[in-house]
Symmetry: C2
Subunit: 407 residues, 2 copies
């Protein structure tokens, strides 16, 4: 598999699945049941999901130490002397006891949090989980008030890497599995739609009309460039997020409502959940987000201010500089294949009574409706100014913030 | 200049000097005297030295924000889509007042700590000095007990990058300038010696007979591989070091003594000071050390345990994992041209009464003489076991530790 994916610039075409053929699974499960077992956390299971479908191709399993070192130092894997974008550590932690238990084993089985066998790992390599260093290199801070760093600090003191073969399709039985499309399924979908441009919007928030305006504008610009059938790929992140983010279920309901109500105009929209966890890694993580979507068939990537950013846990400031994400993407080796579409700033135009691109000539007419302002209004049952968000979408959000949504 | 240096794999051959031709200097100095000025710290002047002689080629000045981002994220520069190794930020700090003073200037002058003009910077670009993030990404820790992080934290809140033209040869008038050879001078020297292999040993400590044994063994191995004339390049780091390191003057005196006394056998030795400051950056810095020496004509690089490492300022442990430096060098894109010679462990063989390669079969015969043990003996006027270090070299070191050396 790896060999097939390596030639420079061809990896995007390679949607390596690590899923065992269905016919082989019963015997593999039988064999796996006799192996030493390691349990996956919820977040690690999501990485298995990511790996299994080829979002992180050419990676064939949890990172070995050499892969981990390349990724933390270079934000790339070095594959046959070529650099392949891979900006976030995809690792599995274990305890000293686990380490002793699997020492010298040629194969081990990975179990989901529910105890069912998910995958077989071959030639597991155990290496030190250098937590402070991992945090510093990944995020530029080591403060455990960062929610992903907190998770790192609480994980086992060892990491275990190695190739995996996944023995079942990862599903969640949360009513949203049908929206979890693999890169292969997405590419088939884009082909079916005869898309000649696929512009992707990475999401972990509800969509307001400023976003919708941007999407419509992007489609228009692509058409002006000569593309006949630009398709919008709305790609909400479906894995682990911090506690105060809007849950996936609410976001998906909101996305469904606004698509139904036509906020994106006549541009075809493909809505599909991206199975990755968030790491809140800013300029590093945005490269992962873009690369994974390249593996899923994107040709254009929309990037805004402070992508994958958050507030500093100990300072009254953001962790990352707001334009570093865009700047890193602009020069990222291996990401030249995906064209960047920098985000144009839209805010509420009080004169026009709708979201509009900011016009510096009549600055006073524009009001910014921040995420915290929006959350406050939703909680207090207030209605945002007309034209801010599709009303049905707003109702879904308001119901969530007022505690009326069953999660 | 840049254009000439870029083609993949050719940069090693490119020893770009940023030094203005001698004939042009008077008029350039005259012009520079009328420009806004920024003062260099001692350490920044050392980086000008490094830049001026092409150790960091194809870099043509202090890093701009884009270069700084590439280096902190990728440990490489992206030059025409090619990755060129560049693992440490080479940056100049300034204050908010400085920033206001140079705003919009097309050129500024850089002054040494003594107030003399050293260089002209063209199109200075000022960007935020994100100190915590710089520390985290560079070292994997953010603790200001690390001496280079302390220096970062105390520096100005802005960085200024841009191409420089250097208006004078950087000298120190410390009696050691003749041992500061440029990459061009070194290459000429290696050619004069008809070297067909140049193996470099990066140093910031005195040389004991274990090191000497390793060098002799390396020369023998290179000859066994078919090299006719391997040359040892002893390359002590000459820039800023932390307070408890042995000063350059003492180290150089020790190196001169042991070379005179023939501890390296019949291998030709070129001793020359590497003008870079230390950053104590472990697996990141070792890549800088190897790349700079590649620019200076090295064909083989000796790498040991925990290169460029130090104790963690807040833990009873080293900051870096001891083999990560070697592992990173093994897969570093752009460093394939320099062949690695992993360090073989030598310690004191009490039976043979000399430094020898460790023999696990008679473990009990070997005693490790650590740096701190050595320092204690030197301070207390004790003599190390015979054969540990060339006696004249030891006297120089002992005199320093007993406070008898004039610095």
């Amino acid at each position: 598999m790896l060999g097939l994916c390596l030639f420079a610039y061809f990896w995007a075409a390679c949607t390596a699945s690590l899923l065992a053929p269905e016919a082989d699974r019963p015997s593999l499960l039988e064999a796996a049941s006799k192996l030493e077992k390691l349990q996956l956390s919820e977040e690690e299971l999501q990485w298995v999901h990511v790996l299994s479908e080829g979002w992180a191709a050419p990676l064939e399993g949890f990172m070995t130490e050499m892969e981990y070192l390349q990724v933390t130092h270079y934000e790339h894997l070095v594959v046959n002397g070529e650099l392949v974008p891979m900006a976030v550590p995809i690792v599995k932690a274990c305890s000293a006891d686990d380490k002793a238990r699997i020492a010298g084993k040629d194969q081990i089985a990975l179990e989901g949090p529910d105890g069912s066998i998910v995958a077989i790992m071959t030639k597991p390599e155990v290496y030190e989980h250098r937590k402070e260093e991992r945090a510093g290199r990944t995020f530029g801070i080591t403060h455990a008030g960062h929610p992903y760093i907190k998770m790192i600090m609480e994980a086992g003191d060892w990491l275990v890497g190695g190739k995996i073969q996944v023995l079942k399709q990862i599903t969640y039985n949360d009513g949203m599995d049908e929206w979890r499309l693999t890169p292969a399924q997405l590419k088939a979908k884009f082909a079916e739609l005869e898309a000649d441009a696929v512009f992707v919007f990475q999401l972990r928030n509800p969509v307001h009309n400023g976003h919708a305006l941007l999407m419509q504008d992007t489609a228009a610009k692509l058409k002006a460039k000569g593309y006949k059938k630009p398709v919008l790929w709305l790609s909400p992140l479906g894995g682990w997020t911090k506690d105060d983010d809007v849950p996936l279920k609410t976001r998906m309901a909101q996305h469904h409502a606004i698509i139904k109500n036509g906020v994106f105009g006549d541009t075809p929209v493909v809505l599909a959940i991206f199975p990755s966890p968030m790491i809140y890694g800013g300029p590093r993580e945005v490269q992962w987000h873009a690369y994974a979507r390249l593996n899923g068939g994107a040709t254009h990537y929309i990037v805004g201010r402070d992508p994958a950013g958050m507030k500093h846990p100990a300072k009254d400031d953001d962790i990352y500089e707001m334009w570093h994400g865009q700047k890193m993407l602009q020069s990222a080796p291996g990401l030249e294949k995906v064209q960047l579409l920098p985000f144009t700033f839209a805010s509420y135009d009080t004169k026009a009574g709708k979201m509009a691109f900011f016009d510096p000539a009549r600055k006073a007419d524009f009001v910014s409706i921040s995420g915290s302002k929006m959350r406050k209004m939703a909680r207090e049952g207030k209605t945002p100014p007309p034209g801010f968000m599709d009303p049905e979408g707003w109702e879904i959000l308001a119901a969530f913030y007022q505690g009326k949504t069953e999660l």
